[in-house]
Structure formats: C-alpha cells, structure tokens
Amino acid sequence: MFKEQIGKQSNKVKNVVERGAVKKFAVAISDAHPIYVDEETGRLSRYRANIAPPTFPRIFDYGEIEGLNLPNKGLIHGEQTFHYERPLVIGEEINCYTKVKNYFEKKGNFGEMGFLLIESYGEDLSGKLIFSSTSTIVISEAVRKVLAR
C-alpha cells in the first residue's frame, strides 16, 4: 500500500518564517532565547535578524502527496533528522515540499512493522536548499490492516 508511493512528491508550498510562530514554538520547547525572540539581539547578531530553532520546520506546510493517506493515530515516530545549509531567518519566505523516500517492512516484536521514510525540504525563492529533514514513521501491522479496509 505504501510501496507504490515511493518517489512521489508534493507540490511546493510557500511558507513564511513568522515571528509570532517562532516565539510560540521557542516558548513551547522552553528555549525563548533572545536570538529567537528579541529584535535587538537579532539585529546585533551575525545574522542581522532573529533566527528560528533547528526543529522549527516541523510547523511548515509541505503540501499533500497525492494518494498518501496517513492516519493521525497509531503511527510511531521512530527517527528524525534535520540538515541545514544555514539557519532559518525570521521573516523570510521559503518554498517547502515533501517526498516519499522509501518504504520497507521488517519483522519486529509486534509482527511485520512498516517503515516509511518521508523527506521534506525548504528552499529559498531562488530554489536554493536551506534545510532538509527526514522522518521515519513506523506503522504496525494492525494499523495497516485498518488502513487497507
């Protein structure tokens, strides 16, 4: 069911690194450091602006991958990576999209576990990569059976 999705990707969606969203996020991970939230600190920094925390890309809209239907329950987040070319700067516009990188099944403690690798990207408006991230989602046999119905 997931195998045929490998290689599919979403259309690019324009996102803004919003000051309010960054502040809310920084507070939620109790890391409201001045480099994320204080304008003066940002202005005086090497970035000449505030930046966003490394796990902030969680909040972006990456668009929909046609035919990929993931339930919002029953999934296990197994692994997560982020790669940056440079930090994200508050106020900048970026294009985001996501891709099904791989899917495979492996015998585990709870039967045949499915591993779905989703790769997501953020580029500047000229198409230059700023960050990429991969999520490994573990889908149990029981959840797959429900999805197949």
């Binding site: 809310k24 991970i29 909040i59």
Partner: protein, 133 residues
C-alpha cells in the same frame, strides 16, 4: 564553557535538567507545532492506544535537546541533527539533556546527544554536527 572552540574531545556541555513534564507543556507544544495527535494530550485517547497515559511528542523532547547549543549562535549553527526516539516520556518525568564532544575536524564538531529520564533510561539519542564559522 564560554565558547565551543575551547571544548576538547570527550568533554561535555553543561547538562540541563527540565522541569517535570506537565500536561500544559504538551498542550503548548501541540498548539505551537500543529501536532494534535491526541495521545499527547488526552488521557482516554492514550489509553485507547494501549498506553498507560499521555506521552510527550518525540519532537518536543528533540526540540528541548537542541537548546544545549542555542547560546553559541555567534560561533556557528547545527548543520545536522539526527535522533532516534528510544523510549516514551510520560507526565512528571524529569528529563536531563546531555551533549558530549565526540570528534573535531576543522570547523566541524560532532557531538553525541542524549536525553535521559529520572531512572537514567535513554529516551532520545543521536548526534549533532555543529558547523563553526
């Protein structure tokens, strides 16, 4: 430790111990991140999923762990951050965040990073590759 440059292989950054995990922490993270999976906020939904109670978002802990590096922003940035979610974090757990320098190559610092609970069990484990300007 005032700068990362002074750090030697095998040395650690100053640990951070978080306040006990509260429901409000997870409600705030759900709102800020847009991850409204109810096993993180609603007891009955967590129980329906076979859990003893609500658990923290893995990304909440991963987000917290990165703050070991925040104050060094003038020196560089996290170029690569990879994590394996190894154990669940429950309400009232007390999580400690750790980082140790594993390898130094020119302007790249490779750290082992770790989050452990009050029993010393690893809940998150991974690596940070820090790029120095």
């Amino acid at each position: 430790m005032s700068t990362l440059t002074e750090l030697h292989v095998g040395e650690t950054l100053k640990e951070i111990q978080l306040e006990p995990v509260s429901r409000l922490d997870l409600i705030m993270y759900a709102g800020a991140s847009g991850d409204f999976n109810p096993i993180h906020t609603i007891d009955e939904e967590a129980k329906k999923a076979g859990l003893p109670g609500i658990i923290a978002h893995g990304m909440w802990t991963m987000g917290n762990l990165a703050k070991l590096f925040t104050s060094y922003y003038e020196e560089g940035f996290i170029q690569d951050y990879s994590i394996r979610f190894k154990g669940m974090v429950f309400l009232n757990d007390i999580i400690t965040l750790k980082a140790a320098l594993k390898e130094k190559q020119e302007n790249q610092l490779r750290f082992n990073v770790l989050a452990v609970n009050q029993q010393g069990k690893e809940v998150l484990k991974g690596e940070v590759l820090y790029h120095q300007y």
